[in-house]
Symmetry: C2
């Protein structure tokens, strides 16, 4: 069993690189929520050196990723530096000794595939509580240790796009805006979602709806809607079977919930796609974080 | 023994992603020079769709890298797309069955560490001919298969920074400009260079000088100098022992060869550093490619 540190909400810096006059850093910490040691990455723009408290964009990555993929591949820091925006990228699942993984060794369950839910089923429930981690523990850590203000937005890719929209719709008071690249829009109606939600949440599919963006949109309050921007490549190999953006579009149309979904011709599911449009997303969030 | 294809100068596309309205692609091909199958990456800006022949920036990566590191991490494609510049990134060594590696398994010799020289010593000389590959075979392939003009520039990082400056100084008629991040400036006078050059070129250090940027600069023609831009982070852990930019600066001063060396405060040896300044390099090359 891992030794649990006495103090909670402490962080330890594990790497640091200057980037666009700001700083990319990785931190590790004991997560009370996930019951394991976790690592996350933060980009701090140069504005913090002048004593400014900056807004934060939380980025949730997709299947198989860690805190590193977005920070290394998205090309987001150039504009985040200019805009004075911090970016926080957590890992995509609990990790380490004693944390269970998919017994079949597939990439779409277990390590790297937390799906941003609170698991209720064994053997997952002791560690796989990524929803609470992203909604509560991580922002508390970030706001304790870094010069950030309370303005937050959230974005993500694929599984993390699902996580971002789902978390934002469940916590609209916590975020100024939400965006996603290639999100798994309707996990209760796709193979990835069925496998993960079945394992983490059990066979009762009514329990799945609390983590499904389409279901949440149907039940959302449209009087004060959260700005939502979604980019989806039409050459994405996962589009028809796993991602199903049309389900989100239909729910938003029926509900009258504003949603900007952009189909991008020729783009696939990769970080080359994300890099191509990340600056649009940063400008979108900056506008709402300032508002 | 690998079967050698009948046709030479053929390429096979192995991946493709749309990126900033252009295309990132990986190709494999049989290299006559290296006597093995090789992979390289190319970024083609959207201008080629309009039938335009675009100039090419060759990028040489550092130790342990493949064609992927720069394309995924440097954030270069945003501006390359705007400027109408192709980028070609070769691998850093021969690969595959029968290609020898460092018997001690270190990262600084053998696979991923070709040092852009033509090896003369056993067991390296049959495959390790990265100089000829980058100077001759790769440009011939690129100019045969892609809509590029004959305007070329060259850049690289660390071992690839050494490669870029060295190759440009030896072939000034082939390039409009050269730049480097954190180059190994004086490989005949640093541990990485001694190990690699000793293995590939043998004990006679006089043979090493043909691949040393400082030695080449001393013997260069200053009447028509090639524009050179070098960025070096002052928090780079390899700076004092391996990189030695002061040796290049001193040689350029003594010779009267113009050289722009920028020491960047707080930056290290990583791609976070490269990303921070790559656009300066692309603008620098674009200016000279247009000239």
């Amino acid at each position: 069993m891992t030794n649990k540190p006495v103090q909670s909400l402490t962080v330890k810096k594990v790497s640091e690189q200057k980037c666009f006059d700001g700083w990319h850093r990785q931190y590790s910490h004991w997560s009370e929520t996930l019951n394991c040691e976790m690592r996350f990455a933060v980009y701090l723009p140069p504005h913090v050196d002048d004593g400014e408290d900056v807004p934060v964009l939380y980025w949730l990555s997709g299947l198989t990723c860690t805190d590193e993929n977005f920070m290394q591949k998205a090309g987001a820091m150039r504009l985040a530096s200019d805009l004075g925006m911090a970016i926080v990228a957590p890992d995509t699942s609990p990790r380490g000794e004693g944390v269970p993984d998919d017994p079949e060794g597939q990439y779409d369950l277990g390590l790297g595939a937390g799906f941003y839910v609170n698991a209720t089923q064994e053997p997952w429930s002791q560690h796989y509580r990524m929803y609470d981690y992203v909604v509560e523990e991580l922002p508390a850590l970030v706001e304790k240790h870094f010069p950030v203000c309370e303005k937050r937005s959230i974005s993500g890719h694929s599984m993390g796009g699902h996580g971002a929209i789902m978390i934002a719709l469940r916590n609209p008071e916590s975020f100024c805006s939400v965006s996603a690249f290639s999100p798994i829009c309707h996990p209760t109606d796709c193979p990835w979602g069925h496998k993960a939600f079945g394992a983490y949440l059990g066979d009762d599919q009514s329990a799945w709806k609390a983590y499904d963006s389409v279901e949440l949109l149907k039940r959302s309050n449209v009087s004060n809607p959260l700005p939502i921007l979604v980019d989806q490549g039409d050459a994405d190999g996962f589009l028809a079977e796993q991602l199903k953006p049309e389900s989100l579009l239909q729910a938003s149309a029926e509900k009258g919930y504003p949603l900007s979904l952009r189909m991008q011709s020729g783009y696939d599911h990769s970080y080359f796609f994300i890099a191509s449009f990340i600056e649009d997303h940063l400008h979108f969030h900056a506008e709402h974080l300032r508002g």
